[in-house]
Symmetry: C2
Subunit: 299 residues, 2 copies
Protein backbone atom coordinates (compact mmCIF):
# COMPACT_ATOMS: atom_id res chain seq x y z
CA UNK A 1 0.00 0.00 0.00
CA UNK A 2 1.11 3.57 -0.71
CA UNK A 3 2.87 5.24 2.19
CA UNK A 4 2.31 8.79 3.39
CA UNK A 5 5.14 11.06 4.50
CA UNK A 6 4.00 13.64 7.04
CA UNK A 7 6.06 16.64 8.10
CA UNK A 8 4.73 19.03 10.70
CA UNK A 9 4.89 20.05 14.32
CA UNK A 10 5.17 17.69 17.26
CA UNK A 11 4.09 19.55 20.34
CA UNK A 12 3.22 19.49 23.99
CA UNK A 13 0.02 21.51 24.35
CA UNK A 14 -1.48 23.17 27.41
CA UNK A 15 -5.10 23.83 26.57
CA UNK A 16 -8.11 25.19 28.37
CA UNK A 17 -11.64 24.86 26.99
CA UNK A 18 -15.04 25.22 28.68
CA UNK A 19 -14.94 21.42 29.08
CA UNK A 20 -11.69 21.29 31.04
CA UNK A 21 -7.95 21.58 30.58
CA UNK A 22 -4.76 19.64 29.92
CA UNK A 23 -1.12 20.46 30.61
CA UNK A 24 1.71 19.48 28.26
CA UNK A 25 -0.46 16.95 26.44
CA UNK A 26 0.63 15.34 23.17
CA UNK A 27 -0.26 17.50 20.19
CA UNK A 28 1.05 19.12 17.03
CA UNK A 29 -0.06 18.99 13.42
CA UNK A 30 2.19 16.02 12.55
CA UNK A 31 0.88 14.00 15.49
CA UNK A 32 -2.82 14.48 14.80
CA UNK A 33 -2.44 13.97 11.06
CA UNK A 34 -0.10 10.94 11.33
CA UNK A 35 -2.36 9.08 13.72
CA UNK A 36 -5.42 9.97 11.66
CA UNK A 37 -3.79 8.88 8.39
CA UNK A 38 -2.49 5.68 10.01
CA UNK A 39 -6.00 4.20 10.10
CA UNK A 40 -5.96 4.20 6.29
CA UNK A 41 -2.30 3.95 5.20
CA UNK A 42 1.19 3.52 6.70
CA UNK A 43 2.96 6.74 7.68
CA UNK A 44 6.53 8.07 7.83
CA UNK A 45 6.79 11.09 10.08
CA UNK A 46 9.37 13.87 9.92
CA UNK A 47 9.69 16.29 12.82
CA UNK A 48 11.66 17.19 15.89
CA UNK A 49 11.15 16.73 19.61
CA UNK A 50 13.18 17.73 22.64
CA UNK A 51 14.87 15.42 25.09
CA UNK A 52 11.88 15.97 27.40
CA UNK A 53 9.58 14.13 25.00
CA UNK A 54 8.09 11.06 26.61
CA UNK A 55 8.98 7.67 25.14
CA UNK A 56 5.34 6.72 25.67
CA UNK A 57 4.38 9.27 23.00
CA UNK A 58 6.81 7.72 20.53
CA UNK A 59 5.48 4.29 21.43
CA UNK A 60 1.94 5.50 20.75
CA UNK A 61 2.90 6.63 17.25
CA UNK A 62 4.69 3.32 16.63
CA UNK A 63 1.63 1.42 17.81
CA UNK A 64 -0.20 3.06 14.91
CA UNK A 65 2.40 1.82 12.46
CA UNK A 66 3.94 5.27 12.19
CA UNK A 67 7.62 5.05 11.26
CA UNK A 68 9.36 7.42 13.70
CA UNK A 69 12.92 7.13 12.37
CA UNK A 70 12.40 10.64 10.97
CA UNK A 71 11.44 12.00 14.36
CA UNK A 72 14.65 13.72 15.42
CA UNK A 73 15.40 14.08 19.12
CA UNK A 74 17.25 17.35 19.72
CA UNK A 75 18.83 18.78 22.83
CA UNK A 76 16.32 21.06 24.54
CA UNK A 77 12.60 21.24 25.02
CA UNK A 78 9.80 20.10 22.74
CA UNK A 79 7.72 22.75 20.99
CA UNK A 80 5.12 24.01 23.46
CA UNK A 81 1.82 25.75 22.75
CA UNK A 82 -0.49 27.16 25.37
CA UNK A 83 -3.96 28.16 24.26
CA UNK A 84 -7.48 28.78 25.36
CA UNK A 85 -10.88 28.48 23.69
CA UNK A 86 -13.11 30.93 25.54
CA UNK A 87 -16.39 29.81 23.96
CA UNK A 88 -15.34 27.23 21.40
CA UNK A 89 -14.55 30.06 19.02
CA UNK A 90 -11.11 30.50 17.54
CA UNK A 91 -8.21 29.55 19.77
CA UNK A 92 -6.50 32.30 21.72
CA UNK A 93 -2.77 31.67 21.87
CA UNK A 94 -1.36 32.44 25.31
CA UNK A 95 2.21 31.22 24.83
CA UNK A 96 4.27 29.73 22.01
CA UNK A 97 7.71 28.28 22.69
CA UNK A 98 9.36 27.07 19.50
CA UNK A 99 12.17 25.45 21.53
CA UNK A 100 13.81 22.72 19.40
CA UNK A 101 11.82 23.85 16.36
CA UNK A 102 13.75 27.14 16.24
CA UNK A 103 16.80 25.46 14.69
CA UNK A 104 15.18 22.47 13.06
CA UNK A 105 16.67 21.45 9.74
CA UNK A 106 14.64 18.49 8.53
CA UNK A 107 16.62 15.46 7.41
CA UNK A 108 14.98 12.60 5.59
CA UNK A 109 15.94 9.08 6.69
CA UNK A 110 17.03 6.87 3.82
CA UNK A 111 14.07 5.66 1.80
CA UNK A 112 11.72 8.41 2.92
CA UNK A 113 12.49 10.48 -0.19
CA UNK A 114 10.50 8.14 -2.42
CA UNK A 115 7.34 8.09 -0.27
CA UNK A 116 4.61 8.57 -2.89
CA UNK A 117 2.16 10.65 -0.83
CA UNK A 118 3.37 13.76 0.97
CA UNK A 119 1.43 15.69 3.54
CA UNK A 120 2.94 19.03 4.51
CA UNK A 121 1.08 19.54 7.79
CA UNK A 122 0.81 22.98 9.33
CA UNK A 123 4.27 24.38 10.06
CA UNK A 124 6.49 27.20 8.71
CA UNK A 125 6.23 27.10 4.89
CA UNK A 126 10.01 27.29 4.67
CA UNK A 127 10.25 23.94 6.45
CA UNK A 128 7.48 22.50 4.28
CA UNK A 129 9.47 23.56 1.20
CA UNK A 130 12.75 22.14 2.46
CA UNK A 131 11.15 18.74 2.98
CA UNK A 132 9.55 18.88 -0.46
CA UNK A 133 12.97 19.73 -1.96
CA UNK A 134 14.27 16.40 -0.71
CA UNK A 135 11.42 14.32 -2.14
CA UNK A 136 11.81 12.43 -5.40
CA UNK A 137 8.77 12.89 -7.67
CA UNK A 138 5.99 12.39 -5.14
CA UNK A 139 2.72 11.17 -6.59
CA UNK A 140 0.64 13.65 -4.61
CA UNK A 141 1.52 16.65 -2.43
CA UNK A 142 -1.11 17.88 0.02
CA UNK A 143 -0.47 20.99 2.10
CA UNK A 144 -2.08 22.63 5.12
CA UNK A 145 -1.25 25.97 6.76
CA UNK A 146 -2.55 28.44 9.34
CA UNK A 147 -3.36 32.16 9.61
CA UNK A 148 0.05 32.88 11.19
CA UNK A 149 1.98 31.86 8.04
CA UNK A 150 -0.40 33.72 5.74
CA UNK A 151 0.32 36.79 7.86
CA UNK A 152 4.05 36.60 8.37
CA UNK A 153 5.38 34.46 5.49
CA UNK A 154 2.96 35.02 2.58
CA UNK A 155 5.70 34.96 -0.08
CA UNK A 156 7.23 31.70 1.13
CA UNK A 157 3.74 30.19 1.26
CA UNK A 158 2.92 31.35 -2.28
CA UNK A 159 6.21 29.95 -3.60
CA UNK A 160 5.38 26.63 -1.97
CA UNK A 161 1.83 26.58 -3.34
CA UNK A 162 3.17 26.35 -6.90
CA UNK A 163 4.42 22.85 -6.02
CA UNK A 164 1.33 21.67 -4.18
CA UNK A 165 -1.44 19.48 -5.67
CA UNK A 166 -4.06 19.86 -2.94
CA UNK A 167 -4.17 22.77 -0.52
CA UNK A 168 -6.28 22.66 2.65
CA UNK A 169 -7.18 25.79 4.60
CA UNK A 170 -10.09 27.22 6.52
CA UNK A 171 -12.60 29.82 5.40
CA UNK A 172 -11.04 32.72 7.34
CA UNK A 173 -7.61 31.82 5.99
CA UNK A 174 -8.94 31.66 2.42
CA UNK A 175 -10.24 35.21 2.85
CA UNK A 176 -6.91 36.37 4.37
CA UNK A 177 -4.92 34.84 1.52
CA UNK A 178 -7.08 36.18 -1.32
CA UNK A 179 -9.00 39.13 0.09
CA UNK A 180 -12.13 37.43 -1.27
CA UNK A 181 -15.06 36.57 0.98
CA UNK A 182 -17.04 34.24 -1.29
CA UNK A 183 -15.55 30.75 -1.06
CA UNK A 184 -16.13 29.80 -4.70
CA UNK A 185 -14.29 32.92 -5.86
CA UNK A 186 -11.61 32.51 -3.18
CA UNK A 187 -11.02 28.88 -4.19
CA UNK A 188 -10.68 29.94 -7.82
CA UNK A 189 -8.07 32.53 -6.87
CA UNK A 190 -6.13 30.01 -4.77
CA UNK A 191 -6.23 27.41 -7.55
CA UNK A 192 -4.68 30.06 -9.81
CA UNK A 193 -1.73 30.13 -7.34
CA UNK A 194 -0.88 26.51 -8.13
CA UNK A 195 -2.94 23.80 -6.39
CA UNK A 196 -5.17 21.79 -8.71
CA UNK A 197 -7.53 21.20 -5.80
CA UNK A 198 -8.43 23.47 -2.88
CA UNK A 199 -10.33 22.36 0.21
CA UNK A 200 -11.94 25.06 2.33
CA UNK A 201 -12.83 23.92 5.85
CA UNK A 202 -15.65 25.59 7.76
CA UNK A 203 -15.21 24.02 11.21
CA UNK A 204 -18.58 22.92 12.58
CA UNK A 205 -20.13 23.68 9.19
CA UNK A 206 -18.21 21.08 7.19
CA UNK A 207 -15.91 21.59 4.21
CA UNK A 208 -15.95 21.98 0.44
CA UNK A 209 -13.51 20.65 -2.14
CA UNK A 210 -12.98 22.68 -5.31
CA UNK A 211 -11.42 21.17 -8.41
CA UNK A 212 -11.68 21.92 -12.12
CA UNK A 213 -15.42 21.99 -12.82
CA UNK A 214 -16.12 19.82 -9.79
CA UNK A 215 -17.07 20.73 -6.24
CA UNK A 216 -18.01 18.56 -3.29
CA UNK A 217 -19.45 19.68 0.06
CA UNK A 218 -19.59 17.71 3.29
CA UNK A 219 -21.56 18.83 6.35
CA UNK A 220 -19.94 18.16 9.72
CA UNK A 221 -20.78 15.03 11.67
CA UNK A 222 -23.10 16.23 14.45
CA UNK A 223 -21.89 16.01 18.04
CA UNK A 224 -23.84 16.88 21.15
CA UNK A 225 -20.73 18.05 22.94
CA UNK A 226 -17.16 18.92 22.10
CA UNK A 227 -14.26 18.83 24.53
CA UNK A 228 -11.45 20.42 22.55
CA UNK A 229 -11.35 21.47 18.90
CA UNK A 230 -7.53 21.41 18.77
CA UNK A 231 -6.22 19.20 15.98
CA UNK A 232 -9.55 18.84 14.15
CA UNK A 233 -8.15 20.36 10.95
CA UNK A 234 -4.96 18.27 11.12
CA UNK A 235 -7.02 15.14 11.71
CA UNK A 236 -9.26 15.98 8.75
CA UNK A 237 -6.28 16.42 6.43
CA UNK A 238 -4.50 13.31 7.72
CA UNK A 239 -7.49 11.07 7.07
CA UNK A 240 -8.00 12.76 3.71
CA UNK A 241 -4.44 11.99 2.56
CA UNK A 242 -4.50 8.50 4.08
CA UNK A 243 -7.70 7.65 2.22
CA UNK A 244 -6.22 8.83 -1.08
CA UNK A 245 -3.04 6.82 -0.45
CA UNK A 246 -5.17 3.73 0.06
CA UNK A 247 -7.31 4.34 -3.03
CA UNK A 248 -6.66 2.47 -6.25
CA UNK A 249 -7.12 5.66 -8.23
CA UNK A 250 -7.44 9.32 -7.28
CA UNK A 251 -10.75 10.05 -8.95
CA UNK A 252 -13.90 11.88 -7.89
CA UNK A 253 -15.17 8.91 -5.89
CA UNK A 254 -11.89 8.66 -3.97
CA UNK A 255 -11.82 12.40 -3.28
CA UNK A 256 -15.40 12.29 -1.98
CA UNK A 257 -14.68 9.34 0.27
CA UNK A 258 -11.55 11.09 1.52
CA UNK A 259 -13.62 14.19 2.42
CA UNK A 260 -16.08 12.01 4.35
CA UNK A 261 -13.29 10.18 6.18
CA UNK A 262 -11.65 13.50 7.03
CA UNK A 263 -14.91 14.72 8.52
CA UNK A 264 -15.62 11.70 10.67
CA UNK A 265 -12.04 11.36 11.93
CA UNK A 266 -12.08 15.04 12.97
CA UNK A 267 -15.29 14.34 14.87
CA UNK A 268 -13.44 11.79 17.02
CA UNK A 269 -10.59 14.20 17.77
CA UNK A 270 -12.83 16.94 19.19
CA UNK A 271 -14.51 14.47 21.56
CA UNK A 272 -11.50 14.48 23.86
CA UNK A 273 -8.40 16.47 24.70
CA UNK A 274 -5.16 15.67 22.86
CA UNK A 275 -5.38 12.38 20.97
CA UNK A 276 -7.41 10.85 23.81
CA UNK A 277 -10.08 9.57 21.46
CA UNK A 278 -8.30 9.66 18.10
CA UNK A 279 -5.49 7.36 19.20
CA UNK A 280 -7.79 4.72 20.64
CA UNK A 281 -10.20 3.88 17.84
CA UNK A 282 -11.08 0.49 16.53
CA UNK A 283 -11.71 0.00 12.82
CA UNK A 284 -15.29 -0.78 13.82
CA UNK A 285 -15.70 2.65 15.49
CA UNK A 286 -14.74 4.30 12.22
CA UNK A 287 -16.96 2.02 10.15
CA UNK A 288 -19.93 2.69 12.43
CA UNK A 289 -19.48 6.45 12.30
CA UNK A 290 -19.06 6.33 8.53
CA UNK A 291 -22.36 4.48 8.28
CA UNK A 292 -24.04 7.08 10.49
CA UNK A 293 -22.52 9.80 8.36
CA UNK A 294 -23.94 8.23 5.22
CA UNK A 295 -27.40 8.17 6.85
CA UNK A 296 -26.97 11.81 7.89
CA UNK A 297 -25.99 13.08 4.46
CA UNK A 298 -27.07 10.77 1.65
CA UNK A 299 -30.45 11.15 -0.07
CA UNK B 1 -52.43 15.94 -5.63
CA UNK B 2 -52.41 17.14 -2.01
CA UNK B 3 -52.89 20.87 -1.66
CA UNK B 4 -50.94 23.16 0.66
CA UNK B 5 -52.55 25.96 2.62
CA UNK B 6 -50.12 28.80 3.33
CA UNK B 7 -50.79 31.59 5.79
CA UNK B 8 -48.24 34.34 6.29
CA UNK B 9 -47.29 37.88 5.43
CA UNK B 10 -47.76 39.51 2.06
CA UNK B 11 -45.52 42.53 1.92
CA UNK B 12 -43.99 45.30 -0.08
CA UNK B 13 -40.31 45.36 0.82
CA UNK B 14 -37.74 48.12 0.44
CA UNK B 15 -34.36 46.45 0.67
CA UNK B 16 -30.78 47.52 0.35
CA UNK B 17 -27.92 45.04 0.02
CA UNK B 18 -24.31 45.46 -1.17
CA UNK B 19 -25.61 44.30 -4.59
CA UNK B 20 -28.25 47.01 -4.99
CA UNK B 21 -31.68 48.00 -3.76
CA UNK B 22 -35.40 47.72 -4.46
CA UNK B 23 -38.32 49.87 -3.35
CA UNK B 24 -41.72 48.41 -2.47
CA UNK B 25 -40.97 45.12 -4.18
CA UNK B 26 -43.18 42.05 -3.75
CA UNK B 27 -42.25 40.10 -0.63
CA UNK B 28 -43.56 38.51 2.54
CA UNK B 29 -43.30 35.01 3.96
CA UNK B 30 -46.53 33.82 2.32
CA UNK B 31 -45.42 35.06 -1.09
CA UNK B 32 -41.99 33.42 -1.09
CA UNK B 33 -43.28 30.17 0.36
CA UNK B 34 -46.37 29.97 -1.87
CA UNK B 35 -44.45 30.49 -5.06
CA UNK B 36 -41.75 28.06 -3.92
CA UNK B 37 -44.28 25.38 -2.93
CA UNK B 38 -46.21 25.90 -6.17
CA UNK B 39 -43.47 24.20 -8.19
CA UNK B 40 -44.28 20.98 -6.32
CA UNK B 41 -47.96 21.16 -5.26
CA UNK B 42 -51.00 23.44 -5.66
CA UNK B 43 -51.35 26.18 -3.04
CA UNK B 44 -54.16 28.05 -1.26
CA UNK B 45 -52.91 31.27 0.25
CA UNK B 46 -54.39 33.14 3.22
CA UNK B 47 -53.28 36.69 3.93
CA UNK B 48 -54.17 40.32 3.60
CA UNK B 49 -53.08 43.12 1.29
CA UNK B 50 -54.03 46.78 1.07
CA UNK B 51 -55.85 48.49 -1.75
CA UNK B 52 -52.45 49.68 -3.00
CA UNK B 53 -51.42 46.10 -3.85
CA UNK B 54 -50.76 45.75 -7.57
CA UNK B 55 -53.02 43.41 -9.54
CA UNK B 56 -49.89 42.26 -11.34
CA UNK B 57 -48.67 40.69 -8.06
CA UNK B 58 -51.94 38.78 -7.69
CA UNK B 59 -51.70 37.71 -11.31
CA UNK B 60 -48.16 36.44 -10.68
CA UNK B 61 -49.39 34.25 -7.82
CA UNK B 62 -52.27 32.95 -9.96
CA UNK B 63 -49.85 32.18 -12.78
CA UNK B 64 -48.20 29.77 -10.33
CA UNK B 65 -51.52 28.07 -9.67
CA UNK B 66 -51.82 29.73 -6.27
CA UNK B 67 -55.48 30.09 -5.27
CA UNK B 68 -55.76 33.73 -4.11
CA UNK B 69 -59.41 33.68 -2.98
CA UNK B 70 -58.05 33.72 0.59
CA UNK B 71 -56.01 36.84 -0.10
CA UNK B 72 -58.17 39.52 1.48
CA UNK B 73 -58.00 43.06 0.14
CA UNK B 74 -58.48 45.52 3.01
CA UNK B 75 -58.81 49.27 3.01
CA UNK B 76 -55.41 50.82 3.63
CA UNK B 77 -51.83 50.05 2.78
CA UNK B 78 -50.09 46.70 2.36
CA UNK B 79 -47.65 45.59 5.07
CA UNK B 80 -44.33 47.31 4.41
CA UNK B 81 -40.87 46.31 5.56
CA UNK B 82 -37.73 48.33 5.02
CA UNK B 83 -34.44 46.62 5.71
CA UNK B 84 -30.77 46.63 4.98
CA UNK B 85 -28.07 43.94 4.83
CA UNK B 86 -24.83 45.77 5.59
CA UNK B 87 -22.52 42.88 4.75
CA UNK B 88 -24.81 39.99 3.99
CA UNK B 89 -25.11 39.38 7.70
CA UNK B 90 -28.44 39.46 9.48
CA UNK B 91 -30.96 41.96 8.20
CA UNK B 92 -31.20 45.29 9.94
CA UNK B 93 -34.82 46.42 10.09
CA UNK B 94 -35.16 50.14 9.36
CA UNK B 95 -38.96 50.41 9.29
CA UNK B 96 -41.93 48.10 9.80
CA UNK B 97 -45.42 49.25 8.93
CA UNK B 98 -48.00 46.61 9.78
CA UNK B 99 -50.71 48.61 7.99
CA UNK B 100 -53.58 46.28 7.04
CA UNK B 101 -51.98 43.46 9.07
CA UNK B 102 -52.67 45.34 12.32
CA UNK B 103 -56.36 44.38 12.26
CA UNK B 104 -56.19 41.22 10.19
CA UNK B 105 -58.60 38.50 11.23
CA UNK B 106 -57.95 35.58 8.89
CA UNK B 107 -61.03 34.07 7.26
CA UNK B 108 -60.85 30.82 5.38
CA UNK B 109 -62.69 30.65 2.06
CA UNK B 110 -65.03 27.67 1.80
CA UNK B 111 -63.12 24.48 1.15
CA UNK B 112 -59.78 25.75 2.47
CA UNK B 113 -60.43 24.18 5.89
CA UNK B 114 -59.85 20.69 4.57
CA UNK B 115 -56.53 21.45 2.85
CA UNK B 116 -54.39 18.51 4.00
CA UNK B 117 -51.02 20.27 4.28
CA UNK B 118 -50.74 23.47 6.28
CA UNK B 119 -47.76 25.79 6.27
CA UNK B 120 -47.85 28.49 8.94
CA UNK B 121 -45.30 30.85 7.40
CA UNK B 122 -43.57 33.46 9.53
CA UNK B 123 -46.15 35.83 11.05
CA UNK B 124 -47.52 36.57 14.56
CA UNK B 125 -48.08 33.17 16.28
CA UNK B 126 -51.56 34.34 17.32
CA UNK B 127 -52.52 34.58 13.66
CA UNK B 128 -50.91 31.22 12.93
CA UNK B 129 -52.99 29.70 15.74
CA UNK B 130 -56.23 31.29 14.57
CA UNK B 131 -55.78 29.81 11.10
CA UNK B 132 -54.97 26.42 12.57
CA UNK B 133 -58.14 26.64 14.73
CA UNK B 134 -60.21 26.78 11.55
CA UNK B 135 -58.57 23.76 9.89
CA UNK B 136 -60.23 20.34 9.97
CA UNK B 137 -57.76 17.58 10.81
CA UNK B 138 -54.85 18.62 8.61
CA UNK B 139 -52.54 15.78 7.61
CA UNK B 140 -49.39 17.78 8.35
CA UNK B 141 -48.76 21.14 10.02
CA UNK B 142 -45.43 22.84 9.33
CA UNK B 143 -44.56 26.08 11.09
CA UNK B 144 -41.90 28.78 10.68
CA UNK B 145 -41.22 31.80 12.89
CA UNK B 146 -38.66 34.55 13.48
CA UNK B 147 -36.60 36.03 16.33
CA UNK B 148 -39.19 38.81 16.86
CA UNK B 149 -41.95 36.37 17.94
CA UNK B 150 -39.60 34.38 20.15
CA UNK B 151 -38.78 37.67 21.86
CA UNK B 152 -42.18 39.29 22.22
CA UNK B 153 -44.70 36.40 22.08
CA UNK B 154 -42.88 33.34 23.47
CA UNK B 155 -45.97 31.99 25.27
CA UNK B 156 -48.21 32.20 22.22
CA UNK B 157 -45.49 30.53 20.18
CA UNK B 158 -45.06 27.72 22.71
CA UNK B 159 -48.83 27.12 22.84
CA UNK B 160 -48.85 26.89 19.06
CA UNK B 161 -45.88 24.51 18.95
CA UNK B 162 -47.92 21.84 20.76
CA UNK B 163 -50.06 21.58 17.63
CA UNK B 164 -47.23 21.63 15.09
CA UNK B 165 -45.73 18.54 13.40
CA UNK B 166 -42.65 20.13 11.86
CA UNK B 167 -41.07 23.33 13.13
CA UNK B 168 -38.53 25.28 11.07
CA UNK B 169 -36.25 27.91 12.59
CA UNK B 170 -32.71 29.13 12.28
CA UNK B 171 -29.74 28.40 14.53
CA UNK B 172 -29.81 31.75 16.35
CA UNK B 173 -33.54 31.38 16.96
CA UNK B 174 -33.11 27.85 18.29
CA UNK B 175 -30.63 29.23 20.82
CA UNK B 176 -32.99 32.10 21.74
CA UNK B 177 -35.90 29.72 22.24
CA UNK B 178 -34.04 27.13 24.31
CA UNK B 179 -31.00 28.89 25.75
CA UNK B 180 -28.96 25.99 24.33
CA UNK B 181 -26.09 26.57 21.92
CA UNK B 182 -25.52 23.02 20.65
CA UNK B 183 -28.02 22.30 17.86
CA UNK B 184 -28.55 18.62 18.72
CA UNK B 185 -29.44 19.52 22.31
CA UNK B 186 -31.51 22.53 21.21
CA UNK B 187 -33.46 20.40 18.73
CA UNK B 188 -34.14 17.86 21.47
CA UNK B 189 -35.49 20.61 23.74
CA UNK B 190 -37.70 22.01 20.97
CA UNK B 191 -39.04 18.55 20.08
CA UNK B 192 -40.04 18.24 23.75
CA UNK B 193 -42.22 21.35 23.21
CA UNK B 194 -44.36 19.50 20.69
CA UNK B 195 -43.05 19.18 17.14
CA UNK B 196 -42.15 15.65 16.09
CA UNK B 197 -39.57 17.09 13.70
CA UNK B 198 -37.40 20.19 14.01
CA UNK B 199 -35.39 21.72 11.18
CA UNK B 200 -32.58 24.07 12.11
CA UNK B 201 -31.43 26.30 9.26
CA UNK B 202 -27.90 27.66 9.16
CA UNK B 203 -28.11 30.10 6.24
CA UNK B 204 -25.12 29.70 3.95
CA UNK B 205 -24.12 26.60 5.93
CA UNK B 206 -27.17 24.48 5.10
CA UNK B 207 -29.71 22.94 7.44
CA UNK B 208 -30.30 19.87 9.60
CA UNK B 209 -33.52 17.96 10.23
CA UNK B 210 -33.98 16.26 13.60
CA UNK B 211 -36.53 13.53 14.17
CA UNK B 212 -36.78 10.61 16.55
CA UNK B 213 -33.47 8.78 16.17
CA UNK B 214 -32.94 10.23 12.72
CA UNK B 215 -31.05 13.33 11.57
CA UNK B 216 -30.31 14.62 8.10
CA UNK B 217 -27.93 17.44 7.12
CA UNK B 218 -27.81 19.33 3.85
CA UNK B 219 -25.01 21.72 2.92
CA UNK B 220 -26.04 24.85 1.03
CA UNK B 221 -25.91 24.96 -2.74
CA UNK B 222 -22.83 27.05 -3.54
CA UNK B 223 -23.28 30.39 -5.25
CA UNK B 224 -20.55 32.74 -6.41
CA UNK B 225 -22.68 35.80 -5.67
CA UNK B 226 -25.83 36.63 -3.77
CA UNK B 227 -28.02 39.63 -4.46
CA UNK B 228 -30.49 39.53 -1.57
CA UNK B 229 -30.96 36.87 1.13
CA UNK B 230 -34.52 38.03 1.92
CA UNK B 231 -37.04 35.21 1.65
CA UNK B 232 -34.47 32.38 1.56
CA UNK B 233 -35.91 30.75 4.68
CA UNK B 234 -39.51 31.12 3.48
CA UNK B 235 -38.54 29.67 0.13
CA UNK B 236 -36.79 26.74 1.81
CA UNK B 237 -39.86 25.95 3.92
CA UNK B 238 -42.28 26.38 1.01
CA UNK B 239 -40.41 23.91 -1.18
CA UNK B 240 -40.04 21.57 1.79
CA UNK B 241 -43.81 21.47 2.42
CA UNK B 242 -44.64 21.33 -1.29
CA UNK B 243 -42.35 18.34 -1.76
CA UNK B 244 -43.98 16.49 1.13
CA UNK B 245 -47.46 17.29 -0.22
CA UNK B 246 -46.43 15.76 -3.54
CA UNK B 247 -44.88 12.66 -1.94
CA UNK B 248 -46.76 9.37 -1.84
CA UNK B 249 -45.67 8.85 1.73
CA UNK B 250 -43.96 11.03 4.33
CA UNK B 251 -41.01 8.80 5.08
CA UNK B 252 -37.27 9.38 5.49
CA UNK B 253 -36.70 9.44 1.73
CA UNK B 254 -39.41 12.07 1.25
CA UNK B 255 -38.09 14.21 4.10
CA UNK B 256 -34.56 14.06 2.66
CA UNK B 257 -35.77 15.01 -0.81
CA UNK B 258 -37.81 17.85 0.72
CA UNK B 259 -34.67 19.18 2.49
CA UNK B 260 -32.75 19.10 -0.79
CA UNK B 261 -35.56 20.84 -2.69
CA UNK B 262 -35.78 23.47 0.06
CA UNK B 263 -32.07 24.13 -0.29
CA UNK B 264 -31.98 24.49 -4.04
CA UNK B 265 -35.14 26.62 -4.22
CA UNK B 266 -33.67 28.99 -1.61
CA UNK B 267 -30.56 29.25 -3.77
CA UNK B 268 -32.67 30.65 -6.61
CA UNK B 269 -34.33 33.23 -4.36
CA UNK B 270 -31.06 34.79 -3.18
CA UNK B 271 -29.85 35.24 -6.76
CA UNK B 272 -32.16 38.23 -7.29
CA UNK B 273 -34.17 40.78 -5.35
CA UNK B 274 -37.80 39.98 -4.47
CA UNK B 275 -39.09 36.95 -6.40
CA UNK B 276 -37.16 38.08 -9.49
CA UNK B 277 -35.59 34.66 -9.98
CA UNK B 278 -37.89 32.43 -7.91
CA UNK B 279 -41.03 33.37 -9.84
CA UNK B 280 -39.52 32.75 -13.24
CA UNK B 281 -38.15 29.24 -13.08
CA UNK B 282 -38.73 26.44 -15.52
CA UNK B 283 -39.08 22.88 -14.24
CA UNK B 284 -35.84 22.20 -16.12
CA UNK B 285 -33.99 24.89 -14.11
CA UNK B 286 -34.98 23.10 -10.91
CA UNK B 287 -34.12 19.67 -12.31
CA UNK B 288 -30.69 20.89 -13.45
CA UNK B 289 -29.86 22.44 -10.10
CA UNK B 290 -31.07 19.34 -8.28
CA UNK B 291 -28.71 17.27 -10.41
CA UNK B 292 -25.83 19.64 -9.59
CA UNK B 293 -26.75 19.45 -5.93
CA UNK B 294 -26.60 15.66 -6.03
CA UNK B 295 -23.12 15.85 -7.58
CA UNK B 296 -22.07 18.36 -4.91
CA UNK B 297 -23.26 16.29 -1.96
CA UNK B 298 -23.59 12.60 -2.76
CA UNK B 299 -20.71 10.17 -2.32
Amino acid sequence: MNKVLVVGSVALDSIKTPAGSVDHALGGSAVYSSISASYFAPVNVVGVVGDDFSKAHVALLKKHGVDTVGLEVAKGKTFHWKGEYPEFGDAKTLETHLNVFADFDPKLPKGYETTPFVFLANIHPGLQSRVLDKMKKPKLVVCDTMNLWINITPDELKTLLKRVDIFVLNETESKMLTGIGNIIAAAKAIRAMGPEIVIIKKGAHGATLFSDGFSFSVPAYLLESIKDPTGAGDTFAGAFVGTLAAAKKIDKAALKKAMAHGTIMASFTVQDFSVGRLAHLKKSDIARRFKEYVALTQL
